[in-house]
Symmetry: C2
DNA sequence: GATAGATTGTAGGTACACAAACAATCGGCA
DNA sequence: TGCCGATTGTTTGTGTACCTACAATCTATC
């Protein structure tokens, strides 16, 4: 194999990059984040930061690792996300009086206000990502993705 | 809204993070890369590096940017991928005699050998990622993902 | 043949993503 | 009470991923 005989010349059963789930998932995710940047209405905000803000708004005060689990982020990853959000004043951290390992996270007033304003844009983001699919296919796509997660 | 009234208490139409395509795509992609690392059989190799190697094997010598386009990578991103693969001796770069801006990439003998050996594992990776779905759903899922990319 | 515009590769900066290793702290159990 | 294992958060290191800006080079057009 390799180099001389092109894959496209071969019969079925070949490994075609464009047909692999992993590659397709990566490309779809790529486009999804690009759409997010264009539609969320706040150039600073990334998808992860948005997820953290929304979850904090929905669930109320949480520890850092707990928020990470709810948003599917590594402890090392959520740490950076929180640091950047705190630096911008959207999140406040205070030590937990009961468990001295933890710091409790809450949305700042401006953080909560931002979430309220941008929630509508969040719906627009999801619609734009799903735009290539018909109305019936969207529910089906979501169901399949949930099983693949 | 925000903080006091939990989203989960509200009626339909709320913005639930777990139901957003972007979030689901991110989680599915997350799992896909984890499965890759476990099944590809080479601890060093990442999904992007694998994509670059396979495409080079399929298409023969290519310029760096061209390879990036074929694998859906930014010029700045493919640059790093190529640098690491070249450092490990899996890819060779030589200046293009015709267009002096370009450098032509080829698989080294060991790079080509690696692709040959691991192609079978590539199929195993894709199957493992799709394992949660039934036989009929897989084709449908691939088709939907192609339209979302 | 000169020049404007596009393309190629590089560099610096920011932001995920995860593994590995670590100190501080908590919880349960002897 | 004392200790061991688990949890919390941090740090370091590597690898995507994209933006902006840039120098070198090519191409199309005049």
């Amino acid at each position: 194999m390799s180099a001389r005989t092109k894959r496209s010349d071969e019969t079925a059963g070949g490994y075609v990059l464009e047909d692999q789930v992993g590659h397709l998932l990566r490309r779809a995710h790529q486009r999804a984040t690009a759409v997010f940047q264009g539609e969320i209405g706040n150039g600073q905000l990334t998808p992860m930061q948005w997820a953290a803000l929304v979850k904090l708004d929905d669930e109320g005060p949480l520890s850092q690792n707990h928020l990470g689990r709810l948003t599917a982020m590594d402890p090392a990853t959520i740490q950076g996300v929180i640091r950047r959000l705190a630096k911008r004043g959207l999140i406040e951290r205070r030590p937990d009086t009961v468990d001295r390992r933890r710091s409790v996270l809450t949305l700042s007033p401006s953080g909560a206000a931002l979430v309220d304003v941008l929630r509508a844009n969040g719906h627009r983001v999801s619609e734009a990502i799903l735009a290539p699919l018909g109305e019936n296919e969207r529910e089906h796509a979501l169901a399949l993705l949930k099983r693949l997660g």
